[in-house]
Amino acid sequence: MKISINKKMTHIQLINTFWVILISLTLFSAYMAEQAKPGLTSILIMSLVLAIKGRIIVDHFMELKDAHVVLRTLMRVYFYVIPTLIILVYLFPEQIVKWTVL
């Protein structure tokens, strides 16, 4: 019983900690939006922040960390692909324009 209560407390504390991390990352993003000059560094940081936030919600809020592997992979990949696209669009806009002109 004692172990069970400790495990519950640990889970709640873990969720509380992730909420604090998510809020901190959002405030950091807002600071970047107001203060940082547009550039590769800020794009990389924004992409990383999005990937981290997505991973926390997918793994711990949706509880997919120990769930079915297909579901977990699909949801995790989403937050690899979107941040990667943000970086690629910043680095190679002209190439993408060439590929997407009708």
Binding site: K8, H11, I12, I15, N16, F18, W19, L22, I23, T26, L27, S29, A30, M32, A33, E34, P38, I43, M46, V49, L50, K53, G54, I57, V58, H60, F61, M62, E63, L64, D66, A67, H68, V69, L71, L74, M75, Y78, F79, I82, L85, I86, V89, Y90, P93, E94, I96, V97, T100
Partner: protein
């Protein structure tokens, strides 16, 4: 410790569980695909109109976007705490956490409404340029999701309060919980794309 929290699956054992039902995950993957199409439209419009997309976020109300992001994340946190409360056989606490999420959802909608009014007063409308066209299309779509998602949580609260969901049987609650997290995931992607990145 690892052996307790992440037990190895024996050869031939059934695949690991799915949080909620398979049906809700089909819906979630469909919705995530829908938002992915919108994000691809955003990326294509951005590379073809770099100057418009560099100036667009500067005129938006970053404070409203930030506050709504904090609200959405907090609402997701409340939903997780509600699920944990029910698993601990505390339906009263579960109901309170879920009402917190509903209040967050309602607050999001009110802030978004005033943000749209503020935009209109600044002359930022769907026809202003392609950035605002994309902005309104994506954010209004998300606005609708928050609306019906909040209503679904109210329905779940009713079922918690009437004892339909119990510690051992609450798949409906899990369905709405993961759906709400999907709405949160969509917003945390929308926020940097439209408000932060130039």
């Amino acid at each position: 410790m690892n052996a307790i929290t992440h037990p190895a699956r024996p050869f031939g054992a059934k695949p690991r569980k799915i949080p909620g039902s398979l049906a809700i995950w089909a819906a979630i993957l469909a919705e995530m695909s829908e938002f992915a199409v919108m994000f691809i439209v955003y990326f294509l419009a951005k590379v073809h109109n770099p100057e418009i997309f560099a100036e667009g976020p500067l005129k938006l109300n970053t404070t409203a976007g930030t506050v709504n992001t904090l609200i959405m994340l907090t609402s997701s946190f409340f939903v997780v705490r509600g699920v944990i409360a029910l698993r601990n056989n505390n339906s009263v606490a579960c109901s309170r956490w879920l009402w917190g999420a509903v209040i967050c959802g309602g607050s999001y909608l009110v802030i978004k409404y005033f943000e749209y009014r503020w935009n209109t007063a600044q002359g930022l409308e769907t026809e202003t340029n392609i950035f605002y066209g994309v902005y309104y299309y994506i954010t209004f779509n998300h606005f609708l999701h928050v609306g019906w998602g909040s209503a679904a949580i109210v329905w779940v609260i009713y079922r918690v309060n009437t004892g339909i969901y119990t510690k051992n049987e609450h798949e409906g609650l899990l369905n709405i919980a993961v759906y709400w997290h999907m709405i949160d995931l969509a917003w945390i992607t929308i926020f940097p794309l439209l408000y932060v990145i130039r």
